[in-house]
Amino acid sequence: MNGPRILSGAGRIWIPLLALGLGLALSASAEAALTYSLSTELKKANCSGDSDSDCLDNAEEGNLAWAAAPWYFYDEDEDCSGWRNSFGLPAFHFARQDFFQVRPQGGGISNWSPTDGQAKWIRLSYFFAFPHDCRSTVGFGGHQGDSEHIKLELYSYDLKTWYLYQAYYAHHDRDHYFSGTYLEDRARSLGTSWISVAADEDSHGSWPGLSADSTHCAGSEDDFCASTCDCFVGTWRNALNSGSGREVVSASRNIGGPWPESWNASVLSVSGGEAWTDMDVGHGLNREYWTPRSDQYQKFCGWECPAAYRKTDGTCSLSVHDRTGCSSQWSTKVDTTSFSLATAGSCAGNCGGSSGSCFCDAACVTYGDCCPDACSACGAC
């Protein structure tokens, strides 16, 4: 019975320490998260079902985008959307056009397996393309076209169950980071399993909301308007329950993406490395590009500006709904993060960054995590 006696003495010290360690380990290893489950794996054996060169099953890309699609809220002063406009025009003139993109993160995508024990990552981007922004606040004038977006980062072990880890909400050409915990907490307090995107105070941006019973767009992130901005008709909870100014983002148009993905030619027009969308929102069939441009298409005019009126700086010489300016280039909103179907990607075009599961920056030499061509492509030797 020596054993028990020895343990009896040591136990007084070890049991609380073990319990503490266990508690810390558990608190670090599990957290509440907004969770989206597919009926089959997002990535299948031999990349079956993939048509945009990212090895992910396109049908499940669409299903995941639908499963995680945010609620969308307009402010009570909104007068420039499909929900409401102050011009007395049919809704399609101003209706938000939703698109999405699903892009894997990291390397070895073709080896992803539901049993490999590794967290696999995707970035899910939602694009909210408005034909027009009617804002008339001094210093924040409206414009033709308004391209907004958010990016969600989700991970999965089994490729069917996806957990929301974090999100980037973009507004007025700036990104703000919000943790999955922040978003889960707000969704739960509203009694829903989905995140929200609030358009803005009398305008279009993308905000996550502050708290269920307030009307604020976010916390300190929207302090530029001295806490006068509000994003909901009444409170957030009221807007969700009453339905006033509330929609669900559509996930029917998957754009694919730039290399190493390919653009989805069944949704966009694609030719010679260019991708664009033609649309008639009441001003004729006009064009906006998803790929970078340095000509008259270098801004996003919301399909309001006919080709003949587009100026070399991307703005419009024709006034449409009292505006000639256009918003920032659409292509800058597209996810271009490098990924690799093989474990190690190539540093070509990725110097200072990463490719697949390896790095292309100067520090990779110290850490020993350089991609095979980091030296030849980027001088990281």
């Binding site: 343990l7 998260a33 489950s37 499909g82 390397g107 590794q118 996930a251």
Partner: protein, 191 residues
Amino acid sequence: MNAKKIFIIPALLALAACAGSPGPVVVPNSLTPGAPGGAAFGRAAATPAVDAAASARAVREVETTLPSLRGVPPGQQLRTLRWMLSVGDDRRLASLFPDLQQDTEETLERRGATARQRLEDLADGLERAGHQAPDPEDEVARVDPDAPAPNYFPPSMLLDLERLSGGDPEAARALEEVRRASPRGSRPPGR
């Protein structure tokens, strides 16, 4: 007293070992998507023969109504429809149909009910043609109170958070977590 402590320590050690494991226990999915199966099926145990003509009609109806399911095998279409119908909030279903999505005259609740009926009709058509699919294993969306933490972060995420973390305390906290789980120079787990 001593015997109890002997029991407690191994139990704590076993729990601690579980807490430090890299990820959740993964049970391979033995069902081929869309293929008829056994115990997991919530409907008829016997596999009826597929009526080719009825199947073609039902598939055409699905592909016309939901273009995202074009080219997807009928069993998988049925599985997806059943999965969609498992969503806990019918208002979400309206966004699957452009006409319901754009109809601002009707409430989202009414549009959601219409969408559910359409999905059920599509699923019934496939079932009547002889196709089967397992019931969904999980709800489409939920809050998981015990989501396993990620045991790996891709390099692109680390670099993105490094860029943001200077002026954003939330991003800085996330960066710490990324560096802890995936320190530079380490290989992804299982590779």
